[in-house]
């Protein structure tokens, strides 16, 4: 069998067994700086395109699907360059191939952005090889040929041949060094709305999710974990539990050994948990209740970790059982002290001293739980020499290394198959539950499915941190913004992005940061850090615009004009023109200035994950209750692959953002989360969602960027600004529902 490999473009062509073309390619989307170097010289192929003799095309999508629609949108990019007939295309989810996978990853809204060029090159290369095969057969030059919907055409001789008929011959064509990609106006699939390729399976209840996995002889495992952060296992009595029907074993699981150097996503909620293993979920749930465990406070300690980029550091974990009231006191204290200055432009102190007007406001938001509708779970079958795992996770390339260490099984003997994710939002990046499942299976010498109860899921989370920010703005006598100061911090992580707008637009700018350690585990949550700072910054700017007597959109546009014309400082990480572009478009699309007088209107705009979003949110008040009537949204995420799917993502992010800002809250008493299920943790429900959302995309030819996260942060600002219009009172502390109730609206 002839195999052609092109190292430059990371492509490999071969003949499919049974005939047809197999083109393997790489989606070099890894954000990892791999230090090992062991694979540096190896072509890492993680995606496949198969053209079968019957004309059917299979595209293997490498990225895990958790609702961002990549399983549809990424293959659309390949199929467009290939000029395939979309109905001939089926899409499969790639398993994790431990030898070769680079980035199978949800996080940072980067899948499309980082996969864009390689996906296109793969499709275009296959198309060229099919054309070259046809040219050989007809004995005509390739440049006389064209393609259309799965066929190669020779117009001059009025001949055509299907891709299926050419596929085997194409496998023998040399992969071209250079490949011509389509121009934007030549796209036929990209920019058209295509339905979710798994839609039918979802609406008929097919087993797509990790929690649906089953295997012969499979046991069910659940955990009992410390009731409070700050506690660890002392001892337990499992005598009663062991006697209960269907129960196979009860034992402690040390999730990550203490000397183990943890990687970036190795955040582990509790070091030691008790595993309860049995024949069925209900029986295990009952046995859990029969375990009498004693817990003890742990000492302050530190763990060795690696950052996302591979740098080693030590993380300090303080002892103690923390309270939300203590957190609030810490925040008040830290906010009143000087933080670490991260950026300073001009002379902020002098400017504030000489300002005609100074506005200072503080904002806060609590811890949040991810609350993926599918609770954490994973299937594991670990034998003496290998480990097979199956389930939902966001960062398999990190997790396989952790597993290898923990199980003492070589990396190449670990096989992780990815299922659809019943939501991720960052939570499934931290796969300690996968390690738990694997360790339990290793001990039981049997296939095991570990399931977290909803209570376990919510009370042993890797939460969104608690955040705080104080803003100051100085206006001169002509109401120009001459000084801007942000001091932001959090427990245990700061939300600050010092180089984001309005940095670059104000002559005198100061950014300070602080953080305070905690033993409550935190991690990525849809649009990390932005999910707080984006919304509150936009609330503050709204208030400053009002103090300056300016229209809030006009006020922002003036600042952006300044940042574009004569930017202050360096490293401003946004494009002022694109930022202004979404604001101008939303002003137009929302009929700004000509709104329905029964509605109260707020605007916000933000940049994150390489995309720009603006919202205008209208709400009404009925019987004292605010109701979001409509949201007009504009997005600049470059070329839009699948407009309806992108619109769905924006709608979801808006609903989720309103829900988190309005209702989301996780509080602690003596280290114990006070919300443990959906009766106490309030989630947005259908009647609280906006009645209508209109999403408009800025049309341009910029390569596509993030979509899952960017609409989420700014809607919180638009909501707060609209609520202010309805009540006359500014809101500073999330969840807003509490502040509204306290203010007696």
């Amino acid at each position: 069998m002839k195999t052609s490999v092109n190292r430059r473009s990371f492509l490999k062509a071969s003949l499919l067994s049974g005939g047809g073309l197999l083109l393997s390619f790489s989606v070099p989307a890894s954000m990892l700086n791999r230090k090992s170097g062991s694979k540096a010289e190896t072509v890492e192929l993680n995606a496949y395109l198969k053209i079968h003799p019957d004309g059917k095309i299979t595209i293997i999508s490498p990225n895990p699907e958790g609702g961002q629609n990549v399983k549809t949108s990424m293959p659309m990019i390949v199929a467009d360059e290939l000029d395939a007939y979309w109905e001939d295309v089926t899409v499969e989810q790639a398993p994790l191939d431990t030898d070769s996978f680079t980035r199978q990853f949800i996080g940072g809204s980067q899948a499309i952005r980082r996969g864009w060029t390689s996906l296109r090159e793969a499709g275009a290369t296959a198309r060229y090889m099919l054309m070259a095969a046809a040219a050989r057969g007809w004995n005509v030059p390739v440049n006389e040929l064209s393609t259309n919907s799965g066929k190669v055409l020779h117009t001059a001789s009025n001949q055509s041949v299907t891709y299926g008929e050419l596929a085997s011959a194409a496998a023998n064509i040399e992969i071209p060094e250079k490949i011509q990609l389509k121009k934007q106006n030549e796209f036929t699939l990209i920019g058209t709305s295509r339905r979710n390729v798994d839609g039918k399976k979802i609406v008929t209840g097919q087993p797509l999710f990790g929690i649906d996995v089953t295997a012969k002889g499979m046991l069910i495992a659940m955990i009992v974990h410390p009731p409070s952060f700050g506690l660890t296992l002392k001892s337990f009595d499992d005598a009663a539990a062991r006697e209960m029907p269907g129960i196979k074993d009860v034992f402690p699981v040390n999730v990550m050994k203490e000397d183990y150097q943890r990687q970036h996503f190795d955040t582990c909620t509790f070091q030691e948990v008790i595993a309860v293993v049995g024949e069925s979920t209900w029986e295990v749930m009952q046995a859990k209740k029969a375990i009498k465990a004693e817990w003890q406070p742990f000492e302050s300690h530190s763990i060795r970790r690696q950052s996302f980029f591979g740098d080693e550091f030590t993380e300090d974990i303080p002892a103690g059982r923390e309270n939300t009231s203590d957190h609030n006191a810490t925040i008040t204290s830290m906010a009143s002290q000087k933080g670490t200055i991260v950026r300073s432009d001009g002379d902020p102190e002098y400017a504030f001293k000489n300002a005609a007007k100074v506005i200072e406001r503080s904002y806060s938001a609590p811890f949040l739980a991810h609350n993926c509708m599918e609770p954490m779970n994973f299937f594991a079958h670990v034998t003496d020499d290998k480990a097979e795992l199956k389930g939902p996770l966001q960062k398999p390339e990190f997790t396989e290394r952790t597993l290898s260490e923990r199980l003492k099984i070589p990396l190449e003997k670990i096989d992780i198959e990815m299922t659809r994710l019943g939501g991720g939002y960052g939570r499934r990046s931290y796969a300690h539950w996968l390690v738990e499942a694997a360790v339990i299976s290793q001990r039981m010498k049997a296939p095991v499915k570990l399931i977290y109860s909803r209570e376990d899921d919510m009370t042993s989370g890797i939460y969104r941190p608690a955040y705080h920010a104080t803003y100051r703005a100085g206006l001169d006598e002509n109401n120009n913004l001459i000084a801007f100061h942000v001091k932001a911090g959090g427990i245990p992580e700061s939300p600050l992005y010092a180089n984001r707008f309005p940095a670059g637009a104000v002559d005198n700018y100061l950014a300070e940061t602080w953080s305070e350690n905690s033993n409550i585990t935190i991690g990525s949550f849809r649009a990390p850090r932005s999910n707080f700072i984006g919304g509150v910054e936009q609330s503050f700017l709204d208030e400053v615009a009002e103090a300056a007597g300016k229209d809030p959109i006009e006020f922002r546009l003036e600042l952006l004009e300044r940042a574009g014309r004569d930017p202050v400082g360096k490293d401003n990480d946004y494009d002022p023109q694109r930022y202004a572009g979404v604001l101008e478009l939303v002003r137009d699309k929302s009929n700004w200035g000509r709104e329905n007088h029964n509605y109260h209107r707020g605007v916000a705009a933000y940049y994150c994950h390489n995309s720009y979003v603006a919202h205008v949110l209208d709400l009404s008040v009925k019987d004292g209750k605010p109701q979001v009537e409509q949201v007009c949204t504009t997005v600049d995420c470059g070329i839009v692959i699948n407009p309806d799917a992108a619109t769905n993502l924006a709608e979801g992010a808006i609903v989720d953002g309103i829900g988190c800002a309005m209702f989301g809250r996780l509080t602690f008493t003596n280290g114990t989360p006070q919300q443990d299920n959906f009766d106490s943790y309030r989630m947005i429900r259908i009647g609280e969602a906006p009645k209508k959302i209109d999403v408009h995309f800025v049309l341009n030819d910029i390569d596509p960027t993030g979509m899952g996260e960017p609409p989420f942060p700014p809607v919180m600002g638009a909501l707060a600004n609209a609520l202010y219009k309805s009540t006359g009172k500014r809101l500073y502390h999330q969840p807003y529902i509490t502040e509204l109730e306290n203010k007696g609206t």
Partner: protein, 151 residues
Amino acid sequence: MATFTLKINGTERQVDVDPSTPILWVLRDHLKLTGTKYGCGIAQCGACTIHLNGNAVRSCQLPVSAAADNEITTIEGLSENGDHPVQQAWLELDVPQCGYCQAGQIMNAAALLERNPSPSDEDIESAMNGNICRCGTYIRIKKAIKKAANA
């Protein structure tokens, strides 16, 4: 342990389980009908919604002993070919994102339309209030129910 005969999606199935076992876990663990989802276990999220004699119920709160001798329909049995008007509307409007809650949403919506063939916005909001979607697909859910109502 006790033996129960259940009528599920038009077929009789026998299971030998503890009488207190919720029908949710009988479906998922014993009968391998995993379309019905576990979400909260306390009837607060709607992911486990099934039909009991045509009415939408939370299967996490329904003991198997109370379900025996009743007609049970799960998402797998809502239609023979996945073409119930609600399922079709869900596909046409491409409602799901992650998809986990959608079986429960669809079962609840189908039961709503059975008793109220042309629901108003308020009817839909009230009937669907118990079904959480963390991805936030509520707007499309509402549109799809209206589309199915007019089908």
